[in-house]
């Protein structure tokens, strides 16, 4: 099979949809006004933002005032967690979260613990990476002022029982945040159905531009903004608005959510064929994450006796982009905390491979991956001291 360029790392980032680029372009050179300015150029920018905000609010089933535009998903997470934690500091200092959150959530919680006197409960997950809502309930104390659990996991694709947890949070009157960055284009974002008070999104995960995100903040829920300055976003997030980015985000979200069911059907078909193909073509390979409750595009594995970076380099040589949770592929030299939390032994976690599909992927791409992967694995296994002792 001739070498192909195949991108299978959509969980990391996505290409911007050409229609999104088109919608954004006027705001760089013609519609460059500062939306806070009184004159026409400024007011036109203001109008563009208002329309974008209304569009996002419609998708989330909330009002425009409840949408805050930020600079990225990580910022939305920080705004939510720091904002709620510090606003409610005199009421309590306890946060409940999971052990599989993205670092934007977990490292923020860790800093609050280490430097600001907060206490954090990191809930365990089962072998599929699922949080048990009853564990959430058990962890709540009188000092709990925030619950934050991600909607879908970035590494293994597992979808969490958000509505059930939301129900519990409501019963205890505790603000509930969900990091929905990975769910963005693929899952239902109706905040009433999800029963959330805060929800984070990031445009570059759903074919929008990098550098812009959203935090949904339910009316009546107060927070102390970490980023202060001008009165932007109703005094919740200072900074001259990234009009082009905001327009891009709203356009991308509309496109992604507008065709959600259809897109997901296609992705699921490709994903399932990919999973089946990988598992049947190699021994000692496991699917990670929940078999059913998983993102439509996520195919994540552990491949025994080989190391993740080696897999990625081998795939890269064959034109394929993917990612891994191995220590050597992380800047911190630690293996994925998500895989470890799921009970996967470290030496197996080092052999993880994550393939996340997108709209441009085709049947031919899946065929190609299935063709080249076994050879890459075999070569690495033939060099591995672990393989020979086991076989």
């Amino acid at each position: 099979m001739a070498k192909r360029t195949v991108y299978m790392d959509h969980a990391a980032t996505t290409p911007v949809d050409p229609r999104v680029v088109e919608a954004m372009l006027p705001y760089f050179t013609e519609g460059y006004g500062n939306a806070s300015s009184v004159y026409r150029l400024g007011q036109e920018a203001r109008k563009a933002i208002d329309e974008a905000r209304a569009d996002v609010a419609q998708t989330l089933n909330c009002t425009p005032r409840e949408i805050i535009f930020t600079g990225c998903g990580s910022e939305s997470d920080n705004l939510a967690i720091r904002g709620i934690a510090f606003w409610n500091r005199d009421k309590g200092n306890h946060i409940v979260t999971s052990s599989i959150e993205h670092h934007a959530v977990s490292h923020t919680c860790e800093q609050l613990e280490k430097h600001f006197g907060f206490q954090v409960t990191y809930l365990p997950v089962d072998k599929y990476g699922r949080v048990d809502p009853t564990d959430v309930e058990k962890a709540i104390t009188e000092k709990t002022t925030l619950i934050t659990i991600m909607y879908a996991n970035n590494e293994v694709g597992t979808i969490e029982p958000i509505a059930e947890i939301g129900e519990i949070a409501r019963a205890h009157k505790i603000p509930f945040h969900t990091d929905a960055v990975q769910a963005g284009g693929a899952l239902d974002l109706d905040v009433e159905a999800l029963k959330v008070d805060l929800l984070s999104l990031s445009a570059h995960k759903f074919y929008g531009p990098k550098g812009v995100g959203v935090l949904y903040l339910r009316r009546g829920v107060r927070l102390l903004p970490p980023q202060t300055g001008g009165a932007h976003e109703l005094n919740r997030r200072a900074g001259t608005e990234n009009v082009a980015g905001i327009v891009g985000l709203a356009t991308a979200l509309k496109l992604a959510q507008g065709h959600r069911e259809e897109n997901n059907r296609k992705l699921i078909a490709l994903r399932d064929r990919l999973i089946e193909g990988v598992l049947s073509s190699m021994l000692d390979t496991q699917l990670t994450g929940h078999p059913k409750e998983r993102l439509p595009n996520s195919a994540s594995f552990t491949i025994n006796y080989v190391e993740g970076e080696g897999l990625l380099l081998g795939l890269d040589m064959m034109g394929t982009a993917a990612s891994s949770g191995s220590a050597c592929t992380s800047a911190s030299l630690e293996p994925s905390h998500v895989l470890l939390a799921m009970g996967i032994p470290p030496e197996v976690a080092h052999g993880s491979l994550r393939l996340t599909l997108g709209h441009e992927n085709s049947d031919e791409d899946v065929d190609y991956l299935l063709e080249v992967l076994p050879g890459i694995v075999e070569r690495l296994r033939s060099m591995s001291p672990l393989y020979t002792t086991a076989s």
């Binding site: 006796y305 220590a327 050597c328 030496e347 001291p385 672990l386 020979t388």
Partner: protein, 127 residues
């Protein structure tokens, strides 16, 4: 991220395999940490006449194993003992700082294999 030399050694590593009846074996690293290297040597007249490695680890780990074994093959035990991780990294036209620890493992595994050989040699000598 990696130099061309590192990628070459990763794609076409030298000296992969085991020696059935080795004169010395060295093991460094730990699969729990994501890095494990095994070095096997065959020694004749105090010279390393054959050397093989197996590695569980990243691109840098495989490349440094390959380069390190190339560098000591044919050398005397004394010369081979002098190999350093710096020399291995330099021979590969450098490694990213975060990957330098991989070159440590390769040099250490070779030293361990030599020490194992010397240990066995001492044991064979009459008291």
């Amino acid at each position: 991220m990696y130099s061309e030399k590192v990628m070459n050694h990763f794609m076409n590593p030298h000296n992969v395999g085991v020696i059935e009846d080795p004169d010395g074996v060295g093991k460094e690293g730990n699969p729990i940490c994501g890095d494990l290297m095994e070095i096997f040597i065959k020694v004749k007249d105090d010279r390393i006449v054959d050397i093989k490695f197996r590695t569980f680890g990243c691109g840098a780990a495989i490349a440094t194993s390959s380069m390190a074994t190339e560098m000591v093959k044919g050398k005397t035990i004394e010369e081979a003992m002098e190999i350093t991780n710096k020399a291995v990294a330099e021979a590969l036209d450098g490694l990213p700082p975060i990957k330098m620890h991989c070159s440590n493992l390769a040099a250490d595994a070779i030293h361990a294999a030599i020490e194992d050989y010397l240990e066995k040699k001492r044991a064979k000598q009459p008291a």
